[in-house]
Amino acid sequence: MPTNTDGVVTNRDFLRSVFHSMLRARILENKLSSLYKAGKIVGGVYLGRGQEAVSATLGTSLIQGKDFFAPLIRDQAGRTAFGESMLDCTRTYLGSAQGPMRGRDGNIHRGRPEMGMPAMISHLGAQVPVVAGMLFAKRLQGTLEGRVGATCIGDGASSTGAFHEGLNLAAVEKLPLVIVIGNNQFAYSTPNSRQFVCADLVEKARGYGIGGFSVDGTDLLACVSVIGEAVRRARAGQGPQMVVARLLRLSGHGEHDDGSYVPDEIRKDHYGRDCIEVAIRQLLENGHATADEISSWENEFSDEVQRAVAQAQQEAPPDPYHEDWTALATRFPLTASQPTAQPVFP
């Protein structure tokens, strides 16, 4: 989060910063999508297209080195905003051994827990209590004050037991957790109607005894004000805050999926609009950026992306012969024998 010398973030700077992350993410993801189609990617590609305003606003509202952020599958923009390097991303997708997961896990699962950004497991909802635990540790260590932990999840993940247990626990422990639910109306192919019954997922907040906000996730200005407020409240000690952002996934579930099950009416309605286009209009209309600036940013970020891709592509993949093939941090003496994959003859 950019601060001026007094530590005060100006609205203009903040908006521009959010937009930078949105645009960087969009350009990066467009590139990932092409690479996927060209068969250059290891594993699947899941994009955050259409969800950048929400994700980048959250990431920008957090303080790197102090706050925690557990991104989920549509959070390229939030990762960028929280300070993840582009190389971490391209290295993982392109199978470089130098990525943060060293080829052991991939793509959207990457994280740097030691820097406050845990590495998600696939099981939806599972990161909620983990962020709660990170905050809980800080309370025990006496350094929770003014700190926030945030995670994004989807409408579908709200149906998991993990979401429920984790959020309730955070509420009971009164932890400064911000949970942003990106309700993009579908979980893979499954529409909201087969996922939950309440009119707006934010109606769940009351049942957890936590703060609840709804926002139009395609509207940058609205996101900045609503998500910003939720983060402020959590930071001020008001306990967990839920933000439900309504929007539409502007890609398939992954790049293998054309999303043809999304009805045309939905694509064409208000939430089907592209948050980047909306943001550009808002920046221009409010005089926060000029068209020239925006196109220079586009060029700049495209170059960055090209460089990050080029570098990762040059790097060696992981070498199985140099793996130690243990999942344990402890190095037990040899008497404490671990199971061996290979036959062991006497």
């Binding site: 290891v42 594993g43 699947g44 199978g95 997961m101 080829g103 052991r104 896990d105 991939g106 793509n107 699962h109 497991i121 696939s122 099981h123 939806l124 579908g156 993940a157 149906s159 998991t160 037991g161 993990a162 979980a187 893979y188 192919s189 499954t190 087969r194 996922q195 939950f196 099950y261 993949p317 992981p318 070498d319 199985p320 012969y321 793996e323 093939w325 243990t326 999942a327 671990q338 199971p339 061996t340 994959a341 290979q342 036959p343 062991v344 003859f345 006497p346």
Partner: protein, 321 residues
């Protein structure tokens, strides 16, 4: 014209829906979308109100299936990946598996687990959980390795009165093809000798059967004749067929794709050691995946699981012991 392993699974479900009004399908994205792997493609249209998309609630999905089974239905639940059945673990091992023993009321549910590794899938879309579920009394655990078995065993699974963990191998889904679904149909609980030999026995199941056959083909060039037994069902386990094979060959390699502690290979080796000790001319051996999560990068993945090369290497040591 050919039929893939996944076609067979789809066909079996179609047959079941057509012939048995007690059958319904429940899972994430299985209706309109036809499932993440298209195992239910077109079935929702053909059988309205028999194929349901459900919320991302694996625990409740199995709970619902148990309740429906109590009331006489035969649900088939698709887990999107085997790995996500960890969320339904309690309902599977404590509710479904114990129910008949406790109450006398059977729970005929079939839980389809898209299992096993494929390149680039990583720790949470690659697991082989048969050895976990087989530990629990009250479950039947099936691991078809052929197109025809995929079809017939799924039909048989639904006919059983017990909860069945049906482990389908994702790698076989589209890779494994057959001219047609044949009638060479063994009952559940009987293993199949897929390749006969006299120098050593490889006991395998699911995708590893094919790796074993490849390894056997290579070793044949050196004059070794390797017998390959496809377990088909890991619980119950047809130890008689395994013992009979070991009686012929005197040597055993138990081969699996799962993690190396315990699991199917340990059960096979320890049963053969106990019941067929005198048949063995060499120490019975195991070959499993390595003791780490399934790695994501294809280069690591290929070194994590058994391959024809590592199987050949293991067999050579065994043959020359």
């Amino acid at each position: 014209m050919s039929v893939t392993y996944i076609d067979a699974i789809r066909e079996a479900q179609e047959t079941l829906l057509r012939e048995d009004p007690r059958v319904f399908l429940y899972g994430q994205d299985i209706a309109t979308f036809g499932g993440a792997f298209k195992a239910t493609k077109g079935l929702a249209e053909k059988f309205p109100n028999r194929v349901f998309d459900c919320p991302i609630s694996e625990d409740a999905m199995i709970g619902l299936a148990v309740g429906a089974a109590i009331e006489g239905m035969r649900p088939i639940v698709e887990m999107q990946f085997a790995d996500f059945s960890s969320i339904a673990f309690n309902q599977i091992v404590n509710q479904a598996a114990t129910h008949f023993y406790r109450t006398g009321v059977p729970i005929p549910i079939t839980i389809r687990l898209p299992s096993g590794g494929t390149p680039g899938s990583g720790p949470f879309h690659s697991q082989s959980m048969e050895g976990i579920y087989a530990q629990y009394p009250g479950l039947v655990v099936l691991t078809p390795a052929s197109v025809s078995d995929a079809y017939h065993m799924l039909i048989d699974a639904v006919a059983l009165d017990d909860p069945v963990i049906f482990c389908e191998h994702k790698f076989l889904y589209r890779w494994l093809k057959s001219k047609s679904i044949n009638d060479d149909h063994l009952p559940i609980g009987q293993a199949r000798i897929v390749r006969s030999g006299k120098h050593a026995t490889v006991v395998a199941y699911s995708a590893m059967v094919h790796e074993a056959v490849r390894a056997a083909d290579r070793l044949q060039q050196d004059g070794w004749e390797i017998e390959v037994v496809d377990l088909r069902s890991v619980k119950p386990l047809d130890i008689d067929t395994v013992l009979a094979s070991v009686a012929r060959t005197g040597r055993l390699l138990a081969l699996g794709e799962a993690f190396p502690w315990g699991g199917v290979t340990a059960e096979v080796v320890s049963r053969v050691a106990a019941e067929g000790f005198h048949l063995l001319d060499a120490p019975p051996q195991r070959l499993n995946a390595r003791d780490t999560p399934v790695p994501y990068h294809p280069k690591l993945w290929a070194a994590h699981r058994p391959t024809p090369e590592s199987i050949c290497e293991a067999l050579r040591k065994l043959l020359t012991f």
